[in-house]
Symmetry: C2
Subunit: 507 residues, 2 copies
């Protein structure tokens, strides 16, 4: 039953390719006996189930069964919200022995369906595990339950003059365990690096219920294989992250930003080099916005910060942010940068608008952050979150547009815009194709075209969103057969019964 | 034969503990037939063997069979120095099919014997693979053969205004593949983080000869398990790293340092907090030196940078380094810091000596870097490279000294000094016990005492040196049974025949 239901989501080609290694798995549905057991080992408020003896109304399970975009839908009868690692361990052990599938769930803010059930898995929601376990104000190392909300952790750190090394739009809902399990990137990656560097330790309940305690608070530890790394980005398919030890960063005392207008696309790369050279350690963001993306943001209510003169003749824009220890120093560096850019013989920029107040700082960011909303107001968007070498950003946007043109699809009632924006500093391009309506014709023109294009640059089909259930069929474009085979063997090693988040990550 | 020889290096207790899971392995020695095969697939200069048909004089193999400290000794008959990844693959495949053990070898600069043979493994020396494969001056991503010497990579980057994210004393000899395989820490970790964050991709020849190409040049890639992380710090036991993609950092324009004298040990932590807060993003080193370590450095020819007045009444010292984009800014920040420290009601420091020239900069560093040499001139040193919470540095040094005192060993003809120094910023303490002579009495007083002490702080018995062959018996003090069991299963998954660097890392 289950296997077939997963299979129908996977295009035939991809499915065939891996069918020979996909084990036949039979999961058991949760029974009243199971619910009675869970009710015995957990607090009453920790068990939601439409089954007796608990008999929760089905409507109360809806927020757990569906993702926030209402794109992925599960039919789980049972949601468990344990309060301790030991409870998680007991649940997992029970499920493993009975071949009941589990989907670990954090804040349910993912974009690829990794945290919602496919069929009727037990939903193991970590939201009740939300304590800060310890914080060392000297080292900046914070240890927390995996259900801690990212913003709550950030707020906890404020009086200590530290910040979390990651920041996301979803910070008010997303949980640190989910951040780790999806290897969340976000806005601070350019400055503070990925979670593979800043996560110092994890506590994980393995698929057989064993608690793997690697909750180290050490910055350096060279005693064997760094197993915790496997769980960072595994999207809950290798175990349930229950605790996280993470290195926070000293809070910057000052932040500034400037929006630069560029006469041509080709200047982005030399500009990035120059900005990195001059701003060095205070550079905290370098965001790219092409002209069409900018215009959409303005059209739909963002970006009154630049006047027409600033915009005129600009092919694209770059938002530069600095964060540093001393405002005067940072502003001096930014001013020197702007002067040297404007006074060059062949200036890389037409103009630059430097924020002069917290309000202006926010207004400049609003242009960049408003693109997502503007795109969705303009039409139906096909969104690709890809990593490619920075040098190829322009080519990928142009090639996609040309391809749609050659198919006769670049017209008002089909594809209206092909826009590019994103984190140049991280090599992460958001390629958005804005159409009047979703249509099979556009979709088949885009896929596998875009994935093959990404593959030709040895890029990633998912820079930061993960694979989840949405992109399992596209994994092959970024991971070769040797890698996928090894991933599968690792999965089998950790989870021989395949109970942990089946149908996710691996095709 | 082999198994027994390994076993004698492992204390009985540790050996017993793991004996039930240690597979009985029978490696084949290299034969003339094997050498003839290697001579056929490799260039003549790539094959050194005392066996026919090559018949190299045994003396020429000495530098490969012995480590640089002359502490670990192998009896390999054959050294292979391939020039391409394909050659590495063919060698490994041949050896795997014939159950010939392999020790991958980089610059042979390790401290724990991880890169030298135990018996007569084939030595796979990567020194002939020393090409920079690519460099992107925009992103700063450099891709290189694993045999590239670290210093050569650093020099390659100079004209591009980038620096390698790691720096080691051994940089003139160590190779990037060895750095990755040992997860080398070094002097820049505080600033640029660990290799788990800065290594973006690897090319690895797996133990069956398959080439795993994950040589990504992407900063962000969330497409499944991050397998490359397993090879970072695996010391060549899971495969042979043949290529490395790594993120270099923009070169700082200026560096300064200051030596601070502290009236008491307890001030180190509040000082570290204050320095982090004030210097923020320009702080690049915070090194701790206790009084006895300082005096040994001075006694043996280092450290004329401080006068008697500066030193008087100091219980310990801290060397602070800054690296930043603009000298005036950095010096202003350092001066402000020093003023605020001196003018405080209860000053954390007695005095601070700020370097005023490149010469003085080097002289201050010479005190810190001279300790190792001074300790070896003073007597026989038992060296422990441990990670513990920063707050416990003093306690661990004191507890060790008290313990030796209680055993009656703290006397001129036994233990002369117990000194502590190291990277406070990384939580990495070098605990050195300086004795008149090595003696079984001192050794049994120290071990497992020190390891158990480290374990009681959930610390690491090897912060940066690795496990190699030296510390396999001590692994259990930093890794619990669940972790070691998983490590063993990962090892078996990758290397079922156990040919890759046997006897290293896992007990």
């Amino acid at each position: 039953m289950f296997t077939r239901s997963v299979a129908h989501r996977i295009p035939l080609r991809a499915f065939k390719r891996w069918a020979h290694t996909t084990p036949t798995m039979n999961y058991r549905s949760v029974t009243e006996e199971d619910v009675a057991h869970f009710a015995k080992i957990l607090a009453p408020s920790s068990v939601l189930s439409t089954l007796a003896p608990v008999s929760t109304p089905a409507s109360e399970l809806s927020i757990y069964n569906n993702d926030w975009m209402n794109k992925y839908h599960g039919k789980s009868t049972t949601v468990l919200r344990p309060k301790t690692t030991k409870e998680v361990s007991e649940i997992v052990k029970w499920c493993n022995e009975r071949r009941i599938a589990i989907v670990p769930q954090g804040g349910n803010t993912g974009l690829v369906g990794g945290g919602v059930p496919i069929i009727d898995e037990v939903i193991l929601n970590l939201g009740n595990m939300n304590k800060i376990r310890s914080f060392d104000p000297v080292s900046g190392i914070i240890v927390a339950d995996s259900g801690c909300v990212l913003e709550a952790m950030s707020e906890y750190l404020v009086p200590h003059h530290y910040i979390m090394p990651l920041d996301l739009g979803a910070k008010g809902s997303c949980q640190i365990g989910g951040n780790v399990s999806t290897n969340a990137g976000g806005l601070r990656l350019l400055r503070y690096g990925s979670l593979h560097g800043s996560v110092l330790g994890l506590e994980v309940v393995l698929p057989d219920g064993t608690i793997l305690d690697q909750l180290s608070t050490l910055r350096k530890d060279n005693t064997g294989y760094d197993l915790k790394q496997l769980f960072i980005g595994a999207e809950g398919t290798l175990g349930v992250v229950t605790g996280v030890s993470i290195l926070s960063a000293p809070a910057p005392n000052a932040s500034s930003n400037v929006m630069l207008a560029l006469p041509k696309y080709e200047n982005v790369l030399p500009l990035f080099r120059e900005v990195k050279r001059q701003l060095s350690e205070i550079l905290s963001a370098f965001e790219f916005i092409d002209r069409r993306a900018y215009e959409l943001a303005v059209k739909h209510g963002q970006g009154r910060a630049l006047n027409d003169e600033d915009v005129e003749g600009a092919e694209c824009f770059v938002l530069v942010e600095t964060s540093g220890g001393k405002r005067e120093h940072d502003e001096e560096k930014l001013n020197t940068l702007l002067e040297s850019l404007m006074e060059a013989d062949e200036p890389l920029i037409n103009t630059g608008v430097l924020s002069q107040s917290p309000l202006q700082f926010s207004q400049l960011w609003a242009i960049r952050e408003g693109i997502t909303e503007a795109v969705s107001k303009e039409g139906k968007a096909y969104k690709y979150d890809i990593s490619i070498p920075v040098a190829s950003f322009k080519t990928v946007v142009d090639t996609t547009r040309d391809h749609l043109q050659s198919k006769g699809l670049l017209r008002d009632d089909a594809v209206k815009h092909v826009v590019g924006y994103g984190h140049v500093g991280d090599g992460n391009l958001h390629l958005n194709i804005v159409a009047a309506e979703y249509s099979p014709e556009i979709e088949s023109a885009l896929e596998p075209f875009v994935y093959e294009l990404v593959q030709s640059y040895k890029g990633s089909v998912s820079a930061e969103h993960g694979i989840g259930v949405m992109k399992t069929h596209a994994l092959q474009y970024s991971k070769n057969a040797t890698s996928i085979d090894l991933m599968r063997r690792i999965k089998t090693l950790f989870d021989p019964n395949g109970i942990m988040n089946p149908g996710k990550v691996l095709p």
